[in-house]
């Protein structure tokens, strides 16, 4: 693992070109079978993510952002209807790997995951330190002492006091448990870490502390983050790029510098206008109506029913238009 991080440092730190993309997702579809019909949780999503970039996936509940993460990780429930498309991580087409190879070669080694509310999923009868070190023992065959030494190093990085490793989960506060989970995701030095709402259940100060740690980790280790969240203000703490999902589809993927000032897609604009700000006076807006059902979603643009700029063309499915200054958005208004 040490070799990897050295070679990775030699690559350019700027906007990567195509060959440097760590993750390439194209035409990803994930549909679930339910008693009411087929739910199109992720529908034709394509994006690329460069090394050491962090991507914030934003969207409201039910828009498919967690399903997107689960599809990349291949942590899927049994009621799959369709799972197709291409996911290329570091040159390896993940869709071609069978379950066993995926488990051995990808999970933990290249890809790790901090699930939602994971801090409540720590094993209550094992010491936290063992749980942090376990991936090394299981996946890399390290012996206990060595694995524990590494666990201590990682604990220092995430801001978890080293003596906490000898405690049990119930002796730790929520923030400390979340740090333990992040340490666990980091210990195998994966290239990509997917964080699903890492701070949503935590207090404001704890949240700020964890965000600080995540930023520090990003500077010190060569990691790429995918941060899945509905909290737009918090997402701006980590994001280099922003991907907005609506009703199972990607609607905008833009560099963060542009997105937080001038989002391109009408949905993203409305979403930004609904975020309360502390320091700046603005009139808040809300989006009337509800997202469509993902069982038989409407044809054409899925946001059309709630969109103030709707016109005839919205009945057709909008392709991804590229935007000035990088990024894409799927909206007919951008057609020229």
């Amino acid at each position: 693992m040490a070799e990897r991080s050295i070679s990775a440092k030699e690559t350019v730190r700027d906007q990567p070109n195509a060959s440097q993309f760590l993750l390439n997702v194209s035409n990803l579809r994930l549909y679930f079978k339910t008693t009411k019909g087929v739910v199109q949780a992720v529908d034709n999503v394509s994006f690329s993510l460069g090394r050491r970039r962090s991507l914030a996936v934003l969207g409201e509940s039910g828009c498919g952002k967690t399903s997107l993460a689960r599809a990349i990780l291949r942590l899927l429930p049994r009621n799959i209807h369709t799972f197709s498309g291409e996911i290329v991580l570091d040159g390896v087409d993940l869709m071609k790997l069978d379950e066993e190879r995926f488990r051995r070669e990808i999970r933990w080694r290249k890809l790790s995951f901090v699930p939602q509310a994971a801090m409540n999923a720590l094993n209550p009868v094992l010491r936290v330190g063992y749980q942090v070190a376990e991936p090394l023992i299981v996946h890399f065959g390290l012996d206990r002492d060595e694995a524990f030494k590494r666990a201590e190093e990682v604990a220092r990085v995430v801001g978890l006091p080293v003596d906490f490793l000898n405690r049990y989960a119930f002796e730790l506060s929520g923030g400390m448990r979340q740090r333990a989970i992040i340490a666990m995701a980091l210990i195998t030095r994966p290239e990509l870490i997917i964080l699903d709402e890492p701070t949503s259940a935590l207090d404001v100060l704890t949240q700020a502390n964890i965000m600080n740690s995540l930023k520090k980790i990003k500077q010190e280790f060569d990691v790429t983050y995918i941060l899945i969240t509905h909290d737009i203000a918090t997402s701006s703490e980590l994001a280099d790029e922003v991907l907005v999902m609506y009703a199972g589809q990607l609607v905008e993927h833009s560099p963060a510098a542009r997105f937080y000032k001038t989002p391109a897609h009408p949905y993203a604009q409305k979403l930004m206008a609904s975020v309360p700000t502390l320091r700046e006076d603005k009139t808040l807006e809300f989006i009337p109506g509800q997202p469509p059902s993902l069982i038989n979603p409407p044809k054409g643009c899925r946001f059309a029913q709630r969109c103030p700029y709707r016109f005839e063309r919205c009945a057709e499915d909008p392709p991804a238009f590229s935007l000035d200054g990088g990024g894409v958005a799927r909206c007919w208004l951008l057609a020229r």
Binding site: N212, D240, V275
Partner: protein, 324 residues
């Protein structure tokens, strides 16, 4: 209405929970609320901001009469609240819960949910009740009313469920609404809608509102006065502008600087947040409860004496020795 215009008066309220070992040996108390005093006028909206464990929910439960106060006095509309008039109190206080789906009985439809408070409190005749149900549903914009009446909670979206919870809180024409994080479970786009609704209802009926939240950024869209709680005490009381633009207590400052506004620059900055966690409420620290985490503490004072309330500028109260 009493001449001083005070709807709810809280004086030196303490709520301690007993800690027991093996179910009967008393080993101490959790001081969930330790000396809180304030007055709420008719038609006034007050926000209480605090982290989990700061005692904000206990304050609310004590006001609702769900937990008896250990010490202190609670007066509602000029009358002292005790065990004998709890029913009278609860008829005039509406409660908006945090998790709308959890707060609505899944086996009752909208009509039944709104009828229930009136049945329990023996209010009105059937026709009047029906009319009142329609009235509140229109008020919270669950229209057309006839479509919503037979629906069950699971058939409603999150925002609609929260509207129904607000309708239920309003159905008895209360004078005070207490809302415990009413929007924290909702999506950003719906949040504003619900806050707007609560604000409109408050103005229309001149309701007193106590809004409890951990999210300071929604506060300015909702109320005039803000209290900040830390470790079972109110540390700062001020109007919204005072808190947002000129926070005085070191904890309030940390809290404000920790809240991000959506801005790309955040990604390149580290936040200046105090390390550590709020103290245990079983054995709170001597003196100021924030002193173990405070960067500006005065040794020999902050760790010995409990700071009283100072008023460095008019109507801006802070419990911190820096302002003595």
């Amino acid at each position: 209405m009493p001449e001083n215009n005070v709807l709810l008066s809280v004086k030196d309220l303490h709520t301690w929970y007993e800690l027991r070992k093996f179910g009967f040996i008393r080993v101490g108390y959790v001081r969930a609320l330790d000396g809180v005093s304030f007055d709420l006028r008719y038609g006034e909206a007050l926000t209480i901001v605090g982290e989990s464990g700061s005692g904000k929910t206990t304050l609310l439960k004590t006001i609702l009469g769900l937990v008896p106060p250990t010490k202190g006095v609670l007066e509602f509309a000029g009358k002292k609240v005790d065990a004998s008039n709890l029913l009278w109190l609860r008829r005039q206080v509406g409660y908006v819960q945090q998790d709308p789906y959890g707060a609505l009985p899944p086996f009752m439809n909208v009509r039944r949910i709104l009828l229930e408070p009136m049945v329990i409190n023996k209010v009105g005749r059937p026709a009047e009740r029906e009319a009142r149900i329609r009235e509140v549903l229109e008020e919270v914009r669950l229209v057309p009313v006839d479509d919503f009446l037979p629906k069950f909670p699971h058939m409603l979206s999150g925002g609609q469920q929260q509207r129904l919870v607000i309708a239920r809180a309003l159905v008895l024409n209360p004078k005070l609404i207490v809302a415990d994080e009413p929007v924290s479970m909702l999506d950003a786009s719906v949040r504003v809608e619900i806050l707007d609704l609560m604000r409109r209802v408050q103005k229309a009926h001149n309701l007193g509102v106590i809004y409890i939240t951990h999210d300071l950024s929604t506060v300015r869209y909702f109320s005039e006065r803000v209290f900040i709680m830390y470790a079972a005490k109110v540390v700062e009381k001020a109007d919204v502008r005072g808190i947002v633009h000129n926070p005085l207590h070191p904890y309030a400052r940390a809290l404000l600087s920790a809240i991000p506004d959506p801005d790309h620059e955040n990604a390149h900055r580290f936040k200046d947040v105090p390390p550590g966690e709020p103290p245990s409420l079983v054995k709170p620290p001597e003196g100021c409860r924030f002193h173990p985490r405070c960067t500006q503490k005065i040794l020999g004072l902050c760790d010995r004496e409990v700071p009283p309330e100072f008023e460095p500028s008019p109507n801006h109260f802070v419990s911190c020795w820096l302002y003595r």
